[in-house]
Subunit: 164 residues, 2 copies
DNA sequence: TATTGTTATACTCTATAACTATA
DNA sequence: TATAGTTATAGAGTATAACAATA
């Protein structure tokens, strides 16, 4: 257990606990998908968007293009997506979800919803809505606040490299 | 950016965004600490508890004992903690925070609080309290709900091993 | 020359197992 | 025999760089 109730009202702590619970549950859901969470994300994008190119996918999902190659190899082998030649650019490949891919995606989304409900089960319906709304507001804001004013950073480098 | 607004009211999504924002900010805070977050956790435990043994530390923080050895090597080299012999058990070492360790811990906690405030800045004070309270309730509950009824698991193994 | 995708290599983390010194 | 801590080895995941085909 990663427990230890350091500062219990601590945001980082509670956020971490809840997030890890969610990750754990969703990881179980994704267990059989090649690439796990990433495979799911790719599948979602391939099913929703208009056959994105690999570079577009990578940029969108924050997946390195070299990693994406291997991931798509696995997913193609599992018959979840296919690489189609782009008629307009012979260098590019457009990623489309296969029928099996769409079917799996449905199943996954359903199971994810169940996992979410399970996590939120500790809260009455009204509080659940409140929490989701607050988080959503914060998320919208968080995307825009990258410049974490680290003006006061740099203490002194305490890190020593492993001497092997 | 890991963006992509898939289902925007989605718990996993918003939770992930907020959590990652927090992780990013706190990672910046921990940048100079050997072992990053883990180093911070170890430092906290060493400063608070009564000189825990390595095995106690590992169990408490979910850090493998072999990893802990390397981590403590680095932290000791940086003069943040020290390994003291346990008078009662000559196999064990008790981990204590040095003076520099305590000092650093203070600084880190202060900077963490600032990072947290920064993340929460998107919400008015009242909502901030509500969110923290809801999360805290959920966290308390989450620790006890490990048995994610995966009764309906196992679809079929789509994973294919890399042929290298 | 720049870009899309692939491949090969290297590096970082983590996990496993084997070893010592105690108990 | 079992436990605390250390060390060595091997694996997964990721990052870097070089390459082929095309723009």
């Amino acid at each position: 257990m990663v427990a230890m109730a350091a500062l219990d009202g601590d945001l980082g702590w509670t956020l971490g606990v809840v997030f890890r619970a969610y990750v754990k549950a969703s990881t179980a859901v994704m267990a059989d998908v090649p690439g796990g969470h990433r495979g799911y994300q790719v599948l979602t994008a391939a099913a929703r968007e208009e056959a994105p190119s690999q570079s577009a996918l990578g940029a969108q999902l924050g997946i390195d293009r070299t990693v994406l190659t291997y991931l798509l190899d696995d997913m193609e082998r599992a018959d979840l997506v296919a690489r189609k030649p782009d008629p307009a650019d012979r260098r590019a490949r457009r990623i489309v979800a296969t029928e099996a891919g769409h079917a799996l995606l449905c199943t996954l989304e359903e199971r994810l919803a169940r996992a979410e409900a399970h996590i939120l089960a500790g809260l009455p319906a009204k509080d659940r809505r409140t929490l989701k709304s607050l988080l959503s507001r914060l998320a919208a804001h968080a995307n825009a606040l990258d410049p974490v004013d680290s003006t006061c950073a740099v203490v002194e480098d305490l890190t020593t490299p492993h001497p092997t």
